[in-house]
Amino acid sequence: MADTHILPPPTQVGLATPPRPAAAGIVISNLALRYGARSIFTGLSLDVAPGAFIVLLGTSGVGKSSLLKIVAGLAKPASGRVTTTNGQSLSGHVAYMGQTDLLYPWASVIGNVMIGSRLRGQRPDTARAEHLLARVGLADRAHALPSELSGGMRQRAAIARTLYEDRPIVLMDEPFSALDTFTRAQIQDLAAELLQGRTVLMITHDPLEACRLGHHLVVMSGTPAQLGPPISLRGTTPRALDDPELLRTQGELMKLLTPQAPE
Protein backbone atom coordinates (compact mmCIF):
# COMPACT_ATOMS: atom_id res chain seq x y z
CA MET A 1 0.00 0.00 0.00
CA ALA A 2 1.03 3.63 0.25
CA ASP A 3 4.41 4.16 1.83
CA THR A 4 5.02 6.64 4.62
CA HIS A 5 6.08 10.05 3.49
CA ILE A 6 8.50 11.51 5.97
CA LEU A 7 8.34 15.26 6.06
CA PRO A 8 11.48 16.80 7.53
CA PRO A 9 11.55 19.97 9.61
CA PRO A 10 11.77 23.32 7.83
CA THR A 11 15.13 23.97 6.22
CA GLN A 12 15.16 27.74 5.93
CA VAL A 13 18.33 29.56 6.70
CA GLY A 14 17.99 31.86 9.68
CA LEU A 15 14.68 30.51 10.95
CA ALA A 16 13.09 33.27 13.03
CA THR A 17 12.20 30.99 15.94
CA PRO A 18 13.77 27.61 16.54
CA PRO A 19 11.34 24.73 17.14
CA ARG A 20 9.74 25.17 20.53
CA PRO A 21 11.15 23.25 23.49
CA ALA A 22 7.94 21.25 23.93
CA ALA A 23 7.84 20.66 20.17
CA ALA A 24 6.08 17.59 18.90
CA GLY A 25 5.45 16.31 15.40
CA ILE A 26 2.65 14.09 14.16
CA VAL A 27 2.94 10.40 13.28
CA ILE A 28 -0.02 9.09 11.30
CA SER A 29 0.27 5.36 10.77
CA ASN A 30 -1.81 3.12 8.59
CA LEU A 31 -5.05 5.06 9.02
CA ALA A 32 -8.25 3.74 7.47
CA LEU A 33 -11.73 5.28 7.41
CA ARG A 34 -14.95 3.78 6.09
CA TYR A 35 -18.50 5.10 5.89
CA GLY A 36 -20.64 2.00 5.65
CA ALA A 37 -19.34 0.01 2.69
CA ARG A 38 -17.50 2.98 1.20
CA SER A 39 -13.82 3.20 1.91
CA ILE A 40 -12.70 6.82 2.26
CA PHE A 41 -9.02 5.97 2.72
CA THR A 42 -6.90 2.99 3.73
CA GLY A 43 -3.28 2.62 4.79
CA LEU A 44 -2.72 6.35 5.10
CA SER A 45 0.62 7.23 6.69
CA LEU A 46 2.39 10.54 7.20
CA ASP A 47 5.31 11.55 9.37
CA VAL A 48 5.46 15.24 10.22
CA ALA A 49 8.61 16.53 11.93
CA PRO A 50 8.29 19.04 14.80
CA GLY A 51 8.06 22.61 13.57
CA ALA A 52 7.05 21.73 9.99
CA PHE A 53 4.15 23.51 8.26
CA ILE A 54 2.33 20.94 6.13
CA VAL A 55 -0.44 21.84 3.73
CA LEU A 56 -2.90 19.19 2.66
CA LEU A 57 -4.62 19.82 -0.65
CA GLY A 58 -7.34 17.97 -2.47
CA THR A 59 -10.71 18.35 -4.12
CA SER A 60 -13.92 18.52 -2.07
CA GLY A 61 -15.11 15.26 -0.57
CA VAL A 62 -11.81 13.45 -0.83
CA GLY A 63 -11.60 13.03 2.96
CA LYS A 64 -9.25 15.82 4.04
CA SER A 65 -11.52 17.15 6.77
CA SER A 66 -12.18 13.62 8.04
CA LEU A 67 -8.43 13.02 8.25
CA LEU A 68 -7.95 16.27 10.17
CA LYS A 69 -10.80 15.38 12.55
CA ILE A 70 -9.20 12.02 13.28
CA VAL A 71 -5.87 13.74 13.99
CA ALA A 72 -7.71 16.23 16.25
CA GLY A 73 -9.31 13.35 18.14
CA LEU A 74 -12.83 14.39 17.02
CA ALA A 75 -13.50 11.25 14.99
CA LYS A 76 -12.43 7.64 15.28
CA PRO A 77 -10.69 5.83 12.41
CA ALA A 78 -11.68 2.30 11.38
CA SER A 79 -8.08 1.31 12.04
CA GLY A 80 -4.63 2.83 12.44
CA ARG A 81 -3.35 5.37 14.94
CA VAL A 82 -2.12 8.90 15.35
CA THR A 83 0.51 9.86 17.93
CA THR A 84 2.99 12.64 18.52
CA THR A 85 6.62 12.07 17.52
CA ASN A 86 7.23 11.44 21.24
CA GLY A 87 4.81 8.54 21.06
CA GLN A 88 2.13 10.28 23.13
CA SER A 89 -1.57 10.62 22.42
CA LEU A 90 -2.40 13.86 20.60
CA SER A 91 -5.07 14.84 23.11
CA GLY A 92 -3.96 18.00 24.90
CA HIS A 93 -1.26 18.71 22.29
CA VAL A 94 -3.43 20.11 19.51
CA ALA A 95 -5.20 23.39 18.87
CA TYR A 96 -7.92 23.41 16.21
CA MET A 97 -9.17 26.05 13.80
CA GLY A 98 -12.29 25.22 11.81
CA GLN A 99 -13.74 26.40 8.51
CA THR A 100 -15.42 29.30 10.26
CA ASP A 101 -13.92 31.35 13.07
CA LEU A 102 -16.07 29.49 15.67
CA LEU A 103 -16.10 32.50 17.98
CA TYR A 104 -18.84 32.07 20.57
CA PRO A 105 -21.22 34.96 19.82
CA TRP A 106 -22.16 35.53 23.48
CA ALA A 107 -18.58 36.07 24.67
CA SER A 108 -16.47 39.18 24.11
CA VAL A 109 -13.35 38.97 21.94
CA ILE A 110 -11.06 38.53 24.95
CA GLY A 111 -13.55 36.09 26.47
CA ASN A 112 -13.27 34.02 23.30
CA VAL A 113 -9.47 34.13 23.38
CA MET A 114 -9.54 32.75 26.94
CA ILE A 115 -12.44 30.35 26.35
CA GLY A 116 -10.14 27.31 26.72
CA SER A 117 -9.37 28.27 30.33
CA ARG A 118 -13.06 28.72 31.08
CA LEU A 119 -13.92 25.37 29.48
CA ARG A 120 -11.26 23.58 31.51
CA GLY A 121 -12.30 25.34 34.72
CA GLN A 122 -8.95 27.13 34.99
CA ARG A 123 -8.20 30.73 35.88
CA PRO A 124 -8.12 32.81 32.68
CA ASP A 125 -4.77 34.50 32.04
CA THR A 126 -5.97 37.99 31.13
CA ALA A 127 -2.49 39.47 30.72
CA ARG A 128 -1.49 36.83 28.17
CA ALA A 129 -4.78 37.18 26.29
CA GLU A 130 -4.29 40.96 26.09
CA HIS A 131 -0.74 40.47 24.86
CA LEU A 132 -1.93 38.06 22.13
CA LEU A 133 -4.72 40.41 21.08
CA ALA A 134 -2.13 43.17 20.73
CA ARG A 135 -0.03 40.88 18.52
CA VAL A 136 -2.96 40.26 16.17
CA GLY A 137 -3.83 43.97 16.23
CA LEU A 138 -7.07 43.73 18.20
CA ALA A 139 -5.95 45.32 21.49
CA ASP A 140 -8.62 48.03 21.25
CA ARG A 141 -11.44 45.58 20.40
CA ALA A 142 -10.91 43.24 23.38
CA HIS A 143 -14.37 43.90 24.82
CA ALA A 144 -16.30 44.01 21.55
CA LEU A 145 -18.69 41.22 20.63
CA PRO A 146 -17.71 39.01 17.66
CA SER A 147 -20.76 40.29 15.72
CA GLU A 148 -19.25 43.77 15.85
CA LEU A 149 -16.08 42.70 14.01
CA SER A 150 -15.29 42.32 10.31
CA GLY A 151 -14.47 38.89 8.86
CA GLY A 152 -10.73 39.59 8.94
CA MET A 153 -10.86 40.78 12.55
CA ARG A 154 -12.83 37.70 13.58
CA GLN A 155 -10.22 35.46 12.00
CA ARG A 156 -7.48 37.34 13.82
CA ALA A 157 -9.35 36.81 17.08
CA ALA A 158 -9.51 33.10 16.22
CA ILE A 159 -5.73 33.06 15.70
CA ALA A 160 -5.23 34.75 19.10
CA ARG A 161 -7.48 32.07 20.66
CA THR A 162 -5.42 29.33 18.98
CA LEU A 163 -2.17 30.85 20.25
CA TYR A 164 -3.61 31.24 23.77
CA GLU A 165 -3.99 27.47 23.90
CA ASP A 166 -0.20 27.28 23.39
CA ARG A 167 -0.22 23.75 21.95
CA PRO A 168 2.76 22.42 19.93
CA ILE A 169 0.50 21.19 17.12
CA VAL A 170 -2.01 23.36 15.26
CA LEU A 171 -4.65 21.85 12.96
CA MET A 172 -6.42 24.15 10.52
CA ASP A 173 -9.33 23.24 8.27
CA GLU A 174 -9.56 25.88 5.52
CA PRO A 175 -9.35 28.57 8.18
CA PHE A 176 -9.26 31.56 5.82
CA SER A 177 -11.61 30.38 3.07
CA ALA A 178 -14.38 32.80 4.07
CA LEU A 179 -12.17 35.87 3.61
CA ASP A 180 -11.74 38.01 0.50
CA THR A 181 -8.47 37.57 -1.43
CA PHE A 182 -6.71 40.62 -0.02
CA THR A 183 -7.72 40.15 3.60
CA ARG A 184 -6.73 36.51 3.21
CA ALA A 185 -3.20 37.46 2.07
CA GLN A 186 -2.86 39.73 5.10
CA ILE A 187 -4.06 37.04 7.54
CA GLN A 188 -1.71 34.52 5.93
CA ASP A 189 1.24 36.81 6.71
CA LEU A 190 0.09 37.04 10.31
CA ALA A 191 -0.49 33.29 10.64
CA ALA A 192 2.91 32.44 9.12
CA GLU A 193 4.64 34.77 11.56
CA LEU A 194 2.76 33.73 14.69
CA LEU A 195 2.76 29.98 14.05
CA GLN A 196 6.56 29.79 13.53
CA GLY A 197 8.03 26.91 15.48
CA ARG A 198 4.74 25.00 15.82
CA THR A 199 3.86 21.90 13.87
CA VAL A 200 1.01 22.83 11.57
CA LEU A 201 -1.26 20.65 9.45
CA MET A 202 -3.46 22.86 7.32
CA ILE A 203 -6.14 21.99 4.78
CA THR A 204 -6.81 24.39 1.96
CA HIS A 205 -8.47 24.51 -1.46
CA ASP A 206 -6.34 27.44 -2.46
CA PRO A 207 -3.03 26.56 -4.21
CA LEU A 208 -1.75 30.09 -3.65
CA GLU A 209 -2.38 29.81 0.10
CA ALA A 210 -0.63 26.43 0.14
CA CYS A 211 2.42 27.81 -1.64
CA ARG A 212 2.66 30.89 0.55
CA LEU A 213 2.54 29.08 3.87
CA GLY A 214 3.69 25.47 3.49
CA HIS A 215 7.09 23.90 3.96
CA HIS A 216 5.75 20.75 2.35
CA LEU A 217 2.59 20.30 0.29
CA VAL A 218 0.77 16.98 0.12
CA VAL A 219 -2.00 16.27 -2.35
CA MET A 220 -4.75 13.87 -1.33
CA SER A 221 -6.67 12.27 -4.20
CA GLY A 222 -8.45 9.17 -5.49
CA THR A 223 -10.99 6.72 -4.05
CA PRO A 224 -9.98 5.39 -1.65
CA ALA A 225 -7.81 8.47 -1.16
CA GLN A 226 -4.02 8.32 -1.22
CA LEU A 227 -1.40 10.89 -0.33
CA GLY A 228 0.79 11.97 -3.23
CA PRO A 229 4.55 12.51 -2.95
CA PRO A 230 5.25 15.68 -0.98
CA ILE A 231 6.19 18.83 -2.83
CA SER A 232 8.76 20.78 -0.82
CA LEU A 233 9.32 24.50 -1.13
CA ARG A 234 12.42 26.39 -0.13
CA GLY A 235 12.69 29.81 1.45
CA THR A 236 11.08 31.51 4.41
CA THR A 237 7.32 31.74 4.80
CA PRO A 238 5.15 33.65 4.12
CA ARG A 239 6.45 33.68 0.56
CA ALA A 240 6.00 36.85 -1.47
CA LEU A 241 2.98 36.79 -3.77
CA ASP A 242 5.27 37.15 -6.82
CA ASP A 243 7.94 34.68 -5.66
CA PRO A 244 8.97 32.72 -8.82
CA GLU A 245 9.12 29.36 -7.01
CA LEU A 246 5.65 30.01 -5.55
CA LEU A 247 4.22 30.77 -8.99
CA ARG A 248 5.85 27.66 -10.54
CA THR A 249 4.58 25.37 -7.75
CA GLN A 250 1.14 26.93 -7.88
CA GLY A 251 0.91 26.08 -11.59
CA GLU A 252 2.07 22.53 -10.88
CA LEU A 253 -0.60 22.14 -8.20
CA MET A 254 -3.35 23.48 -10.46
CA LYS A 255 -2.43 20.81 -13.04
CA LEU A 256 -2.42 18.09 -10.39
CA LEU A 257 -5.74 19.07 -8.85
CA THR A 258 -7.84 20.08 -11.84
CA PRO A 259 -9.92 17.10 -12.97
CA GLN A 260 -9.54 16.23 -16.65
CA ALA A 261 -12.63 17.20 -18.64
CA PRO A 262 -14.21 14.18 -20.31
CA GLU A 263 -13.29 13.95 -24.02
Binding site: L102, W106, L119
Partner: protein, 260 residues
Protein backbone atom coordinates in the same frame (compact mmCIF):
# COMPACT_ATOMS: atom_id res chain seq x y z
CA UNK B 1 -36.21 69.47 20.26
CA UNK B 2 -33.52 66.89 19.54
CA UNK B 3 -34.33 63.83 17.47
CA UNK B 4 -33.76 61.27 20.26
CA UNK B 5 -36.48 62.91 22.35
CA UNK B 6 -38.75 63.11 19.32
CA UNK B 7 -38.36 59.37 18.75
CA UNK B 8 -39.05 58.61 22.44
CA UNK B 9 -42.11 60.85 22.35
CA UNK B 10 -43.42 59.16 19.23
CA UNK B 11 -42.98 55.75 20.82
CA UNK B 12 -45.15 56.80 23.73
CA UNK B 13 -47.64 58.66 21.56
CA UNK B 14 -48.34 55.79 19.15
CA UNK B 15 -50.07 53.33 21.54
CA UNK B 16 -51.91 56.26 23.17
CA UNK B 17 -53.29 57.36 19.82
CA UNK B 18 -54.30 53.79 18.94
CA UNK B 19 -56.08 53.37 22.29
CA UNK B 20 -57.73 56.78 21.98
CA UNK B 21 -59.08 56.05 18.49
CA UNK B 22 -60.40 52.64 19.57
CA UNK B 23 -62.18 54.17 22.58
CA UNK B 24 -63.67 56.89 20.35
CA UNK B 25 -65.04 54.31 17.90
CA UNK B 26 -66.43 52.27 20.80
CA UNK B 27 -68.05 55.37 22.30
CA UNK B 28 -69.54 56.45 18.96
CA UNK B 29 -70.87 52.96 18.31
CA UNK B 30 -72.66 52.66 21.67
CA UNK B 31 -74.06 56.18 21.16
CA UNK B 32 -75.36 55.66 17.63
CA UNK B 33 -76.46 52.02 17.75
CA UNK B 34 -78.44 52.33 20.99
CA UNK B 35 -77.29 48.86 22.08
CA UNK B 36 -78.49 48.39 25.69
CA UNK B 37 -75.77 48.89 28.31
CA UNK B 38 -76.13 45.35 29.67
CA UNK B 39 -74.98 44.07 26.26
CA UNK B 40 -72.31 46.65 25.48
CA UNK B 41 -71.57 49.35 28.06
CA UNK B 42 -69.98 52.59 26.86
CA UNK B 43 -66.43 53.66 27.79
CA UNK B 44 -67.75 56.09 30.42
CA UNK B 45 -69.65 53.45 32.42
CA UNK B 46 -66.67 51.06 32.23
CA UNK B 47 -64.41 53.82 33.53
CA UNK B 48 -66.94 54.43 36.32
CA UNK B 49 -66.95 50.72 37.17
CA UNK B 50 -63.14 50.72 37.21
CA UNK B 51 -63.16 53.55 39.73
CA UNK B 52 -65.98 52.26 41.94
CA UNK B 53 -64.64 48.72 42.07
CA UNK B 54 -60.97 49.73 42.39
CA UNK B 55 -60.34 48.05 45.76
CA UNK B 56 -62.05 44.85 44.75
CA UNK B 57 -60.28 44.90 41.37
CA UNK B 58 -56.93 45.39 43.06
CA UNK B 59 -57.34 42.43 45.40
CA UNK B 60 -58.58 40.16 42.65
CA UNK B 61 -55.77 41.29 40.32
CA UNK B 62 -53.30 40.39 43.06
CA UNK B 63 -54.72 36.85 43.21
CA UNK B 64 -54.59 36.39 39.45
CA UNK B 65 -51.11 37.93 39.27
CA UNK B 66 -49.85 35.51 41.91
CA UNK B 67 -51.28 32.57 39.99
CA UNK B 68 -49.72 33.75 36.72
CA UNK B 69 -46.33 34.57 38.26
CA UNK B 70 -46.12 31.27 40.16
CA UNK B 71 -47.36 29.35 37.12
CA UNK B 72 -44.79 31.05 34.90
CA UNK B 73 -41.96 30.41 37.35
CA UNK B 74 -42.80 26.75 37.98
CA UNK B 75 -43.78 26.14 34.35
CA UNK B 76 -40.51 27.60 33.06
CA UNK B 77 -38.39 25.63 35.51
CA UNK B 78 -40.29 22.43 34.81
CA UNK B 79 -40.17 23.07 31.06
CA UNK B 80 -36.42 23.72 31.12
CA UNK B 81 -35.80 20.62 33.24
CA UNK B 82 -37.87 18.44 30.88
CA UNK B 83 -36.00 19.91 27.89
CA UNK B 84 -32.62 19.09 29.44
CA UNK B 85 -33.66 15.59 30.42
CA UNK B 86 -35.14 14.57 27.07
CA UNK B 87 -32.09 15.87 25.19
CA UNK B 88 -29.44 14.21 27.33
CA UNK B 89 -31.10 10.96 28.31
CA UNK B 90 -32.47 8.88 25.43
CA UNK B 91 -33.97 6.54 28.00
CA UNK B 92 -35.81 9.35 29.76
CA UNK B 93 -36.92 10.71 26.40
CA UNK B 94 -38.63 7.43 25.57
CA UNK B 95 -40.43 7.38 28.93
CA UNK B 96 -41.14 11.07 29.37
CA UNK B 97 -42.16 12.12 25.86
CA UNK B 98 -45.48 10.19 25.78
CA UNK B 99 -46.43 11.66 29.16
CA UNK B 100 -45.59 15.19 27.99
CA UNK B 101 -47.60 14.74 24.81
CA UNK B 102 -50.50 13.23 26.72
CA UNK B 103 -50.55 16.25 29.06
CA UNK B 104 -51.06 18.41 25.95
CA UNK B 105 -53.42 16.06 24.14
CA UNK B 106 -55.96 16.01 26.97
CA UNK B 107 -57.90 19.28 26.55
CA UNK B 108 -57.26 21.66 29.42
CA UNK B 109 -61.01 22.41 29.38
CA UNK B 110 -61.67 18.81 30.37
CA UNK B 111 -58.86 18.67 32.89
CA UNK B 112 -59.47 21.95 34.73
CA UNK B 113 -62.71 20.88 36.50
CA UNK B 114 -60.92 17.78 37.77
CA UNK B 115 -57.99 19.84 39.00
CA UNK B 116 -60.37 22.17 40.85
CA UNK B 117 -62.10 19.14 42.33
CA UNK B 118 -58.79 17.69 43.53
CA UNK B 119 -56.91 20.83 44.57
CA UNK B 120 -59.75 23.08 45.70
CA UNK B 121 -61.01 26.58 44.92
CA UNK B 122 -57.72 28.18 46.05
CA UNK B 123 -54.64 29.21 44.11
CA UNK B 124 -53.12 25.70 43.74
CA UNK B 125 -55.49 24.43 41.05
CA UNK B 126 -55.01 27.62 38.97
CA UNK B 127 -51.23 27.44 39.21
CA UNK B 128 -51.39 23.84 38.01
CA UNK B 129 -53.59 24.79 35.04
CA UNK B 130 -51.18 27.64 34.19
CA UNK B 131 -48.16 25.31 34.51
CA UNK B 132 -49.82 22.82 32.18
CA UNK B 133 -50.21 25.39 29.41
CA UNK B 134 -46.81 27.00 30.02
CA UNK B 135 -44.27 24.22 30.32
CA UNK B 136 -44.75 22.60 26.92
CA UNK B 137 -43.72 25.52 24.67
CA UNK B 138 -40.68 25.99 26.93
CA UNK B 139 -39.73 22.29 26.75
CA UNK B 140 -40.23 22.09 22.98
CA UNK B 141 -38.24 25.19 22.10
CA UNK B 142 -35.48 24.63 24.67
CA UNK B 143 -34.87 21.01 23.63
CA UNK B 144 -34.78 22.11 20.00
CA UNK B 145 -32.18 24.74 20.85
CA UNK B 146 -30.08 22.26 22.83
CA UNK B 147 -30.08 19.80 19.93
CA UNK B 148 -28.98 22.35 17.34
CA UNK B 149 -25.65 23.48 18.78
CA UNK B 150 -23.19 24.20 16.00
CA UNK B 151 -20.97 21.13 15.41
CA UNK B 152 -17.84 23.27 15.00
CA UNK B 153 -18.36 25.00 18.36
CA UNK B 154 -18.60 21.61 20.06
CA UNK B 155 -15.52 20.32 18.19
CA UNK B 156 -13.53 23.35 19.26
CA UNK B 157 -14.47 22.82 22.92
CA UNK B 158 -13.56 19.13 22.64
CA UNK B 159 -10.07 19.88 21.34
CA UNK B 160 -9.71 22.25 24.30
CA UNK B 161 -10.21 19.25 26.61
CA UNK B 162 -13.52 20.51 28.00
CA UNK B 163 -15.55 18.06 30.09
CA UNK B 164 -19.06 17.09 29.00
CA UNK B 165 -20.56 19.17 31.80
CA UNK B 166 -18.41 22.14 30.90
CA UNK B 167 -19.51 21.93 27.24
CA UNK B 168 -23.13 21.86 28.40
CA UNK B 169 -22.66 24.86 30.65
CA UNK B 170 -20.45 27.03 28.47
CA UNK B 171 -21.49 26.04 24.93
CA UNK B 172 -24.82 24.20 24.65
CA UNK B 173 -26.77 26.23 27.22
CA UNK B 174 -25.83 29.69 25.95
CA UNK B 175 -26.32 28.55 22.36
CA UNK B 176 -29.83 27.30 23.23
CA UNK B 177 -30.85 30.51 25.03
CA UNK B 178 -32.42 32.25 21.99
CA UNK B 179 -34.68 29.24 21.36
CA UNK B 180 -35.50 29.08 25.08
CA UNK B 181 -36.40 32.78 24.92
CA UNK B 182 -38.89 32.14 22.09
CA UNK B 183 -40.60 29.48 24.22
CA UNK B 184 -40.69 31.76 27.24
CA UNK B 185 -42.30 34.56 25.20
CA UNK B 186 -45.10 32.20 24.14
CA UNK B 187 -45.42 31.01 27.75
CA UNK B 188 -45.72 34.58 29.07
CA UNK B 189 -48.49 35.33 26.58
CA UNK B 190 -50.58 32.24 27.39
CA UNK B 191 -49.96 32.10 31.17
CA UNK B 192 -52.86 34.48 32.06
CA UNK B 193 -55.21 32.37 29.90
CA UNK B 194 -54.40 29.32 32.03
CA UNK B 195 -54.96 31.15 35.30
CA UNK B 196 -58.21 32.85 34.21
CA UNK B 197 -59.57 29.61 32.82
CA UNK B 198 -58.85 27.89 36.13
CA UNK B 199 -60.76 30.66 37.90
CA UNK B 200 -63.77 30.34 35.61
CA UNK B 201 -64.06 26.68 36.49
CA UNK B 202 -64.21 27.30 40.20
CA UNK B 203 -62.59 29.85 42.49
CA UNK B 204 -63.08 32.15 45.44
CA UNK B 205 -61.13 35.17 44.16
CA UNK B 206 -59.27 36.50 41.13
CA UNK B 207 -60.20 38.48 38.01
CA UNK B 208 -61.85 35.41 36.47
CA UNK B 209 -63.95 34.97 39.60
CA UNK B 210 -64.95 38.61 39.44
CA UNK B 211 -65.94 38.29 35.77
CA UNK B 212 -67.95 35.17 36.51
CA UNK B 213 -69.91 36.95 39.24
CA UNK B 214 -70.44 40.08 37.15
CA UNK B 215 -71.60 37.93 34.28
CA UNK B 216 -74.18 36.18 36.46
CA UNK B 217 -75.52 39.53 37.66
CA UNK B 218 -75.41 41.05 34.16
CA UNK B 219 -73.03 43.76 35.41
CA UNK B 220 -71.42 44.01 32.02
CA UNK B 221 -69.52 47.19 32.90
CA UNK B 222 -67.75 45.40 35.78
CA UNK B 223 -67.03 42.50 33.44
CA UNK B 224 -65.40 44.92 30.99
CA UNK B 225 -63.44 46.61 33.79
CA UNK B 226 -61.98 43.26 34.91
CA UNK B 227 -61.21 42.36 31.31
CA UNK B 228 -59.45 45.69 30.86
CA UNK B 229 -57.26 45.13 33.94
CA UNK B 230 -56.47 41.61 32.74
CA UNK B 231 -55.41 42.90 29.31
CA UNK B 232 -53.13 45.51 30.90
CA UNK B 233 -51.58 42.86 33.14
CA UNK B 234 -50.96 40.50 30.23
CA UNK B 235 -49.33 43.21 28.13
CA UNK B 236 -47.14 44.38 31.02
CA UNK B 237 -46.07 40.82 31.78
CA UNK B 238 -45.12 40.26 28.16
CA UNK B 239 -43.18 43.52 28.00
CA UNK B 240 -41.23 42.65 31.18
CA UNK B 241 -40.38 39.16 29.88
CA UNK B 242 -39.47 40.52 26.43
CA UNK B 243 -37.24 43.25 27.87
CA UNK B 244 -35.58 40.80 30.25
CA UNK B 245 -34.88 38.37 27.41
CA UNK B 246 -33.44 41.14 25.25
CA UNK B 247 -31.05 42.02 28.11
CA UNK B 248 -30.11 38.38 28.58
CA UNK B 249 -29.65 37.84 24.84
CA UNK B 250 -27.69 41.04 24.21
CA UNK B 251 -25.45 39.14 21.79
CA UNK B 252 -28.17 38.01 19.40
CA UNK B 253 -28.18 40.45 16.50
CA UNK B 254 -31.61 41.80 15.54
CA UNK B 255 -31.60 42.01 11.76
CA UNK B 256 -35.16 43.29 11.34
CA UNK B 257 -33.95 46.89 11.00
CA UNK B 258 -31.16 46.00 8.55
CA UNK B 259 -31.50 46.69 4.83
CA UNK B 260 -32.26 43.52 2.91
Amino acid sequence: MNSARMIALRRIARPLITTGVLIAIWWAFTRISQVPAYLLPGPASVAEALWHQRTLLMWNTLTTFNEVALGLLIGTLLGAACGLVIVFSPLMQRWLMPILLLSQAVPIFALAPLLVLWFGFGITSKVIVAVLVIFFPVTASFSDGLRRTDRGMLDLATTMNASKFSILRHVRLPAALPAFGSGLRVAAAVAPIGAIFGEWVGSSSGLGYMMLNANARIETDVMFAALFVLAIMTVLLWVVVDRGLKKLLYWVPDTTGAPI
